[in-house]
């Protein structure tokens, strides 16, 4: 601190400290704490706030288990009935389809990243990168709307496929995959680069001689990737997966536009509790529920794949 004062003078030191404190306190800690605190309090009429009914409890969190009903599940022909609340079921589905989107984004990005980092001639890399990055400059809202229009019933995609005779009649693009196909497809489309770049970065740091050495020792393509390329890229893959997963779970716009009649996203429940039911306490509890669960889930997954937090920061 003294060194900083000596170097930059009292005013600049004080200002930068004050701004940092403002950022942390006013923009991060206070709003989060306020939400966290209110998530434990009941939703009350204005006159009762601060009164004897205003006591801390876990009721808002436990309300995710309320009103259980029979839910029919059909998993590849295997049918079963689950007895749970709709909210809890939506929570599970959100996690499951976020996992699926993340996994599909990885399947898409891994070969592409390998191609960009190890196969493509360096001279042509800039063109490819530009082609990949320019769509990122278009806002997420616009890109989501574009997908919304493209995948619409009797929309451009259907018309195109009809004209070349692949399909006849209308196609409900968003209704397959238990009603989540539109959401999953668009989530991948919107967030795919958050997967590509960390994986690509990890691959560029891999010494190409190691790939050749493995090949020279007789390894097949699959084994080279499994034993040499993938272990090297693990931090990048983990970083990409965590980012894409968190973005998917937290997306409100994409499910809002591309849901089918049979699908719902957990963020939409948070939204409706806050803005439709005006129950900010309940909404806050759901938001924290999601945050806490996702953090635990990501931590456990990273433990499973033996990736440390420090690896991701590399």
């Amino acid at each position: 601190m003294q060194a900083m004062v000596r170097r930059y003078g009292g005013f600049i030191t004080g200002l930068s400290l004050a701004l940092t404190a403002f950022w942390l306190l006013v923009l991060v800690l206070i709003p989060y704490f306020d939400m966290f605190e209110s998530s434990f309090r009941p939703y009350l009429p204005f006159v009762d706030i601060g009164g004897p009914k205003d006591i801390y409890s876990l009721n808002n969190y436990l309300s995710i288990f309320h009103n259980p009903t029979d839910i029919k599940v059909n998993f590849f022909g295997f049918e079963t009935k689950l007895f749970m609340s709709i909210h809890l079921w939506v929570f599970f589905l959100t996690i499951a389809f976020s996992c699926l989107s993340t996994f599909l984004a990885f399947l898409l990005c891994y070969p592409l990243a390998y191609y960009l980092a190890k196969v493509l001639e360096p001279g042509r890399l800039a063109t490819f990168m530009l082609i990949l990055i320019i769509p990122m400059w278009v806002s997420e809202l616009l890109r989501t709307f574009a997908m919304f229009i493209l995948l619409a019933f009797n929309g451009p995609l259907t018309i195109l496929l009809q004209s070349i005779g692949v399909v006849t009649g209308g196609v409900r693009w968003t209704w397959s995959l238990w009603g989540y196909s539109g959401v999953v497809f668009t989530l991948i489309y919107v967030y795919v680069l958050f997967m590509l770049f960390p994986v690509y970065n990890a691959m560029t740091s891999l010494d190409s001689n190691q790939i050749e050495a493995a090949k020279d020792l007789g390894a097949s393509r699959w084994r080279i990737h499994r034993r040499v390329v993938m272990p090297h890229c693990k931090p990048g893959i983990a970083s990409g997966c965590v980012t894409v997963f968190m973005l998917c779970v937290g997306s409100l716009l994409v499910p809002g536009l591309l849901n089918s009649p049979s699908s719902q996203w957990f963020t939409e429940l948070i939204y409706s509790r806050m803005f439709v039911e005006n129950d900010w306490n309940g909404g806050a509890a759901y938001a924290f529920l999601m945050l806490i669960f996702c953090t635990i889930f990501v931590t456990l997954t990273m433990r499973l794949f033996k990736v440390g937090l420090a690896d991701i920061a590399k």
Partner: protein
Amino acid sequence: MTASVELRGVTMDFDKYRAVDNVSVKIEPGEFFSFLGPSGCGKTTILRMVSGFIEPTQGQVLIGEQDMAGIGPNKRPTAMIFQNLALFPLMKVWENISFGLEVRGIDKAARRKRAEELLDLVDLEGVADRYPAQLSGGQRQRVAIARALAVEPKVMLLDEPLSALDLKLRQHMRAELRAIQKRTKVTFIYITHDQGEALAMSDRVAVMSRGHIQQVDVPQNIYNEPTNGFVASFVGENNIFTGALSATKNFTTDVGAFAVTTGQGVSHDSKCRLYVRPEHVSLVAKPKAGANAVPATVEDISFEGNFAVVHLRDKTGRKLSAELKNDASTPPPAVGASTHVVFGPEHARVLLDSDAVAYDGEE
């Protein structure tokens, strides 16, 4: 477990650049063969063609009499040691060594046992469970050799593997590599730009420049009987004189005419130069009449222990050098002294200018 390697009229083009131009050479089974040349001479390209990472534009690569066209690096009986070794940093030493066996579906216990045996062979024990980053440079070198030997290659390809080591270790590893080669009887093809390495280790050496082989021979002949100016100047030091060969087999220069030995293909109208090794030169104040003598002034003397290098300059300003044995009874002339650089005709070689590189001995 050894095989011959033959290149038949091999040419390799990269875009507009011809890296290897119509090279033919046959390497015998169990031979330690080096390709020696400056960077960019095409030696690494040859190695990559033998290993199968690239296919020649023209010509054939044969390993053990079998044409390798269309056979990938993972299917050839070769093993490569890379310049940076390319050990797998995330695998333990024994996993590195047994990777080639893992590929062949050998079970873990057998792989581990084989890895230990190979570590024994390269004189490296008790490091099987370490990671490459925990080893010293010399130890990593040995692991790389063991990893290549594990797949029982018939031909071992080495791409300047010693260049990352310090001088002392490098000299030690030379002897070690040579010993391993003799023990395993595998054909070694060694790539280097270091003449000392090539001469010390090899059974035969191919000197390369600009995609051509300039000379293939045993190390003694490469040094003592170079076929052209490039080989003479790339391998060892020389005093070089420009001039012309007269009809009487005398070589006429701007500092006199000398009796000489002519090298391969030299005739009186060919473009050639005179090469004399510094160790074949003596310094004489009053030379005998008729001897090859160049008057010169001593500029500097650097004492190297067992010998001294005397740097001189003749009247035309040409730099000359003489390597004199350290002998207290006949000390070298003092700096500034006028003397004569004298050499016998058997050590004065007139060699063709190589089309490869115009080499005048000065960097």
